[in-house]
Symmetry: C2
Subunit: 287 residues, 2 copies
């Protein structure tokens, strides 16, 4: 499978790595990039991520075979509205957003009759780094990509977008957008929120320097994700607000239970909680 | 400085590494080990951690220069009562417990007039591994050890115990037991509790297999400490209950604030919290 023309909106870690990976698989003809920062686009061109910097969205999209939206999720709706009227009937659009309910809603609101050509995707590739300079052809190798197909998508369209991500080396699975957002609220968005919360709590103390000077490897790992982008996580939290509120509520209940056990000196209850957690965490291996 | 006879109670990671490190520094003459498990003691002897397996606590302690209590904290009070009457006036006792208020209370309750010879210590050496087989001569190199001296300790006794830990390669500092327990409630005990809580919360779901199958590197790091020993962390939580309840209460308040911001759609507040956390976490480096 080869896409003769690929258009990438946002040539940072996610978009740039997608382009490099498709090129490496010999699956991309010309790659054209769009983005907000001329400097980033020029860097992407110099790094061989894209062949050309796009100037005119409508014109470039007209003969595109594959379009990737790898901008912040908040900018996707406007982009969808601009590209939808210009898409060829065979063209496919996918994205790299971390939340799916909001992206799907934006697609329905902005793509009109072209919504069947949009196959939403969430590539799960850790992103401590960002920007075109961090893009790598092997970023997606062995990583999970979740597709959340729409009822309007044809089986063939879904299969071709699946294949594109597989050519990047990804392991592709499918969920509904709702399932996706619930799953990631639990295993990703909530942990990020909790990690930010711990550091924020300590950051407000008069003795924060002393506290941090005694923090060790447990703290280091627990708070690694608190060094993530505040803007990106603000957007993810807002976009997945309902599912995240459910998860946060459930976790606060869990802490109430633990607080009570601790306050009552119920050592057995604590051990029971810790033991189940250890068993489940010990048996878990990242896939 | 050389300790002609060192007696170690508990020849696992902490006690075994202390013995190996003192030997490597040529600071230990004979090393005698006690412990609950004959198999562990025999292994420690075979690994060269100890010279001999002790049989009679009273007899072995009589001519000891340095005694390390590296058993679970809950067993230390009974041990202190057995060794105190037999200690030479020049002998020093230190420990490897993760909490200090309870160890200090046990010392006052069980060591009588010998309490001045006990200089409490907390070596901060990550312990995913345990047991004699995990002991290493370099475990403490560059690691922090916190002493929480008692008013009864002479300056010379504190200096000699400090030197013993320094000979193991540790960076030694001093806090009061109360300060110690407050600091570690915040930067170690609370994060462990929160990590156990998250995994326990997910472990009770019907779809836990699905959830865990999509968990990635953020989850992996956040929950690494949830694979810690349930018994050890039950004991630490119970021993440091008051300080930990304060920290847990403060954290639950923090979550209330975040819950409210999220429920009200206050994106600015979320970004403010995340930004401060990121700044503080980004500037922190493990010392």
């Amino acid at each position: 499978m080869k896409f003769n023309k690929v258009v990438i909106f946002g040539v940072g870690l996610i978009g740039g790595s997608f382009a490099l990976a498709l090129r490496r698989a010999n699956a991309a003809g010309e790659v054209v990039g769009f983005g907000r920062s001329p400097a980033t686009l020029e860097l992407a061109r110099q790094l061989g991520i894209i062949d050309r910097i796009g100037r005119d969205v409508s014109a470039e999209v007209k003969d595109a075979d594959l379009v990737l939206l790898a901008t912040p999720v908040g900018q996707m709706g406007e982009l969808m509205a601009r590209i939808a009227p210009n898409l060829c009937p065979h063209a496919l659009v996918t994205d790299g957003g971390s939340t799916k309910g909001d992206v799907v809603a934006a697609a329905y609101a902005n793509m009109g009759g072209r919504v069947a050509q949009f196959i939403p995707a969430h590539p799960i590739a850790g992103a401590e780094l960002s920007g075109a300079a961090a893009a790598r052809a092997d970023l997606y190798v062995g990583k999970k990509v979740v597709l959340t197909p729409l009822p309007e998508n044809s089986a063939d369209s879904v299969a071709r977008v699946r294949r594109a991500w597989e050519l990047c080396g990804a392991v592709v699975s499918e969920l509904t957008a709702k399932q996706h957002d619930e799953v990631f609220a639990a295993v990703s968005h909530l942990p990020h929120l909790l990690s930010f919360a711990l550091v924020h709590d300590l950051a407000q103390r008069d003795n924060k320097e002393q506290l941090l000077s005694f923090a060790a490897s447990g703290f280091r790992d627990f708070t690694r994700i608190a060094a993530s982008s505040p803007e990106m996580w603000r957007d993810i939290c807002m976009a997945n607000r309902d599912a995240l509120l459910d998860e946060l509520g459930s976790y606060m209940q869990e802490l109430e239970t633990i607080h009570e056990a601790l306050a009552c000196g119920d050592a057995e209850k604590l051990q029971e909680i810790f033991s189940l957690a250890r068993e489940v965490r010990g048996n878990w291996t990242q896939q």
